[in-house]
Amino acid sequence: MIEGIFVEGLIYGIMVLGVFISFRILDFPDLTVDGSFPLGAALMVQCLLMGMNGWVALLIAFAGGVLAGVITALIHNHLRVPNLLAGILTMTMLYSVNIRILGNRANVPVLNQPTILTQVTEKFTGVIPDEYILLVFFLIVALVVKVLLDLFFRTDLGMTLGAMGNNEQMVISQGVNPKTLKTIGVGLSNGLVAVSGAFAAQYLGFADVGLGQGIIVSGLASVMIGEFLVMKSNRIGVLTFCALAGSVCFYAVMYVGRFYGYLIHMTPSDLNLIKGVLIIILLIMTQAKKLKVPFKVAK
């Protein structure tokens, strides 16, 4: 069970990193996530069913996510729509797109197809105990993504993205177009979310249009748990670690809720309520602690 919690936390952790980028670094509350997560899943499953290599399929899923984010950013930038609404627009449109990608079906399984996960399991079976193969694999994947992000946010471009979330006027004064930065940032964020969706689909064995429902809330809750647990810092390495740690904690709570919730007559449909209540509790706790954790949506 413990490895299941970690695997889930790490898979969704990639999504949490994406949410962290848009909400925390860019100060761009982006709801596209609810659509780009199943988009990644749908692209992955369809590509696999077409017999494509899993890693190529992953790249396509990433590109799809980036495109979704870019569309949100373009709507926001050029039509002067508030960022929340721009995200909701893309998310709504993606629902139809995802069903199209899945061939007019709401749910498509990949149970008999070789996926990245089955290949990895085959390769390392016998080397590591079977139940830990995926855990090690996702630990590596999440760490690679984390380290790449840490490197990215230390480049001039990455730092400027951080500055924009903090002070847009400063970025304009440096002769940088904030619209370009938003497009890059939101694109990257949704690319990560789609990658997370692609892994989730392989892990679950299917892609479903409903996969992304409420995922933004899970992502935010994870980010906030991470910020709550680990000390405050502005070092990007610590921040991305917080996001991953928060994700593992959050999905551990959800896991427990799913498997032992029946003891208190809880059904899986109650989980969304639990998520929301969890966020509210976190907000109250952070305010009580007088720690400054701005909840940017409420702005």
Binding site: F152, R154, T155, D156, L157, M159, T160, G162, A163, N166, N167, Q169, M170, V171, I172, S173, Q174, G175, V176, N177, P178, T180, N234
Partner: protein
């Protein structure tokens, strides 16, 4: 340098709230000019800066930069050669980032890509430049800017702007939000940088004696117009009394002196 030709700005055109914020402004800023601008609240000083910087697009008229028409260029494009400091000392820097990160971002203008230009060499360069501020900031490179005072952040913004070598700098009451001691320090630094680096500058101030003391040229604005433009020896001979009298002569009304006289030394 920068030239404004018949520039007008009208807010809320065609509505009952129509307001002519700038009225047919003609201004030629020559290279090496240090222009101080005074005028009562609502005279159009900040609107003039916003128009030069590109925040507002003129309703009529043209803006030329080095002979090129830039009237419709967005603010971020003009920012490559126009440096600007605001009254709010927090607007020039990112508070939740370290001093060295801030300096890396502001060091060179224009779009940033995947290079990492912060290294020991650039750190050394930043430290050397920071010494000029005489605030000891060179020992606090890794600290977040929220830990710094408004005066320190404004001085830093000034230094970073100067290092990017802009053709024109716009100072919009950049010492007004600071305490008197810090305001004095930042103003002295401003004057020093402008003469050391031979910069072209425009400075809005509410302090008449500052307007007279600094710079080689003085503009007085009222009702969206430049009513008085004086430079050289003539400007040197100005006094606060003469300036107020001049305003009275030109406008046949008393200078709205709520802040102006209070700020008089």
């Amino acid at each position: 340098m920068i030239e404004l030709k018949n520039v007008s700005i009208v807010f809320g055109q065609g509505t009952v709230n129509e307001n002519k914020a700038l009225n047919n402004i003609n201004l030629k800023v020559k290279e090496g000019d240090f222009i101080t601008i005074i005028g009562s609240n609502g005279a159009g000083k900040s609107t003039l800066f916003n128009t030069i910087a590109g925040t507002y697009t003129p309703t009529e008229g043209q803006i030329l930069a080095n002979g090129k028409n830039v009237t419709r260029d967005p603010e971020y494009k003009r920012a490559k050669y126009i440096g600007r400091i605001f009254q709010n000392p927090l607007l020039g820097t990112a508070g939740n980032m370290s001093l060295e990160d801030n300096m890396t971002i502001t060091h060179k203008k224009g779009m940033k890509w995947l290079r990492r230009s912060l290294n020991n060499k650039s750190r050394e360069f930043f430290k050397q430049e920071l010494v000029q501020l005489r605030m000891g900031l060179e020992h606090r490179m890794k600290e977040n800017l929220v830990m710094f005072s408004g005066g320190q952040r404004q001085a830093l913004t000034l230094l970073m702007m100067v290092l990017s070598k802009p053709s024109l700098i716009l100072l919009d009451e950049h010492t007004a939000a600071l305490d008197p001691k810090n305001a004095e320090i930042v103003l002295e630094l401003t004057n020093k940088f402008i003469s050391d680096y031979n910069l072209t500058a425009m400075m809005i101030t509410h302090n008449m004696s500052h307007a007279i003391e600094f710079g080689n040229r003085l503009l007085m604005m009222d009702g969206g117009e430049i009513i008085f433009d004086i430079e050289g020896e003539e400007k040197k001979a100005l006094t606060v009394e003469k300036l107020i009298q001049k305003f009275h002569e030109l406008r046949h009304k008393t200078f709205e002196n709520d802040r102006t006289l209070l700020a008089e030394d």
